[in-house]
Assembly symmetry: C2
Homo-oligomer: 257 residues x 2
């Protein structure tokens, strides 16, 4: 095809790979990579697609779906394999604008529902939590010292939620708790303490924020102390605890019911 890019050294190709691999570059450039027809179509729909890469084969198949404001860069099928993170690439890639936002007072509604992720590190968990938060209509997810929400693994696991759900960079507990309280939002620390209230006895409706800690160590003591309430998911079996994403999911379900 005329104008088809075939070289790994083409600046557009190198830029995509760098966005995939380099967290700092993603952050300074405010962009992230999305692969696959579904994710790329969502990026186009939400007006978040900054650059579109399509292999020759994929262009033949999907030209109708991909037509829109963004003119696709056509690349060889071999380069599609070079850009892809999957075994059977669909040949459709996008660089998307990251909309990285800091928490500000105007972002919080007194009757909103929020999830605070405190030092969560596993990209699979992060992706699953964002997908679930979107499904349950959580108003925003606030992240403090977590893994990068724009890493390829997280983006893939969100199944498109990354384009819809506000994810806000939050300060540490000593600032975040008062900021939430000032808007009338109650903070619940999810813990395994014996004196925590069972989730079934908590009023996790409007105007609340549930805090989830790190996979290995949970919430740090200062964060637990800063929250007004402690919540626990009662368990019957012998497992010590739930996976962090599962705990977050069940608590969000209880928030939205």
């Amino acid at each position: 095809m005329d104008g088809c890019i075939t070289s790994k050294n083409n600046p557009l190709i190198r830029r995509y790979r760098r966005v995939l691999e380099d967290k700092r570059f993603r952050s300074t450039e405010q962009v992230f990579a999305a692969e696959g027809l579904r994710l790329v179509c969502e990026a186009l729909q939400e007006g978040r697609c900054a650059a579109l890469y399509v292999t020759e084969s994929a262009y033949e198949k999907y030209a109708d779906v991909l037509c829109g404001g963004i003119k696709p860069v056509i690349i060889s099928d071999a380069l599609g394999n070079h850009l892809s993170e999957t075994e059977h690439p669909q040949g459709v890639f996008a660089l998307c604008s990251a909309a990285r936002m800091e928490l500000g007072r105007d972002r919080l509604r007194p009757n909103g529902r929020y999830l605070v992720l405190y030092a969560l590190q596993d990209p699979g968990n992060m992706g699953m939590i964002l997908r679930t938060a979107d499904a349950f209509g959580i108003d925003a997810v606030l992240v403090y010292r977590c893994c990068d929400v724009y890493s390829p693994k997280v983006v893939r696991a969100t199944m498109g939620a990354i384009f819809r759900l506000p994810v806000l960079e939050a300060p540490a507990a000593d600032l975040l708790c008062p900021a939430l309280e000032a808007q009338g939002i109650r903070s619940y620390a999810a813990v395994l303490h014996r004196d925590a209230r069972p989730v079934t006895a908590c009023d996790l409706g409007e105007g609340c924020a549930v805090w989830i800690g790190n996979e290995g160590s949970g919430l740090p003591e200062d964060a637990v102390a800063a929250c007004k309430e402690k919540v626990i998911i009662p368990m019957r079996g012998n497992a010590e605890s739930l996976n962090a994403a599962m705990a977050a999911g069940i608590l969000m379900w209880e928030m939205m019911k």
Copy 2:
């Protein structure tokens, strides 16, 4: 150390690697591999440890914890890296008896709670579901054409639940549904159909089995038809669906509440 194994070609070392890598071998030999102090200690406690491998360094640190019925095979630290599936191995490994069980009538209690996994394929999802099922006291998980529950990824993600929770090989829906019904157990197919009942309006207590389908395609039509009831988790947001493990977790939470 005296008698320390240093060769990759030692039959014991080759056996462990083969159990790690070869699903058929695991199945015919009825064993699986577990790595790390926590999992191995659970295997010892539950009487499921068939062979114990400890590196020289790990033996110095953990000899007290690991003493018991099984005499450890001491291996070099280099071999520990060879056996390990993690970046920073603790140097503790076990071959465990697999207790692979088929579903039989004596396995089902009329007031039990069951989860049916139908063609679930992702090991991360499987591990998370088994961990959650154990935490919520599900009586048994019935699997039909799923990924191997004894693969290293699943075993690791169960965090020890694999040693406690009964996992039973089940037949296809046309046999499984009547077998459950004969014990008075109602089957609920988890689906995204509009005519499914919201989980909050279902009586998911004792004597029920919730069915979860494949990550990509859900439950096949014949399985949905065989179940007496259809259940859906209502969603507020824009996501098409929840991840299969998350959906299973929320339904199990509703079963045990």
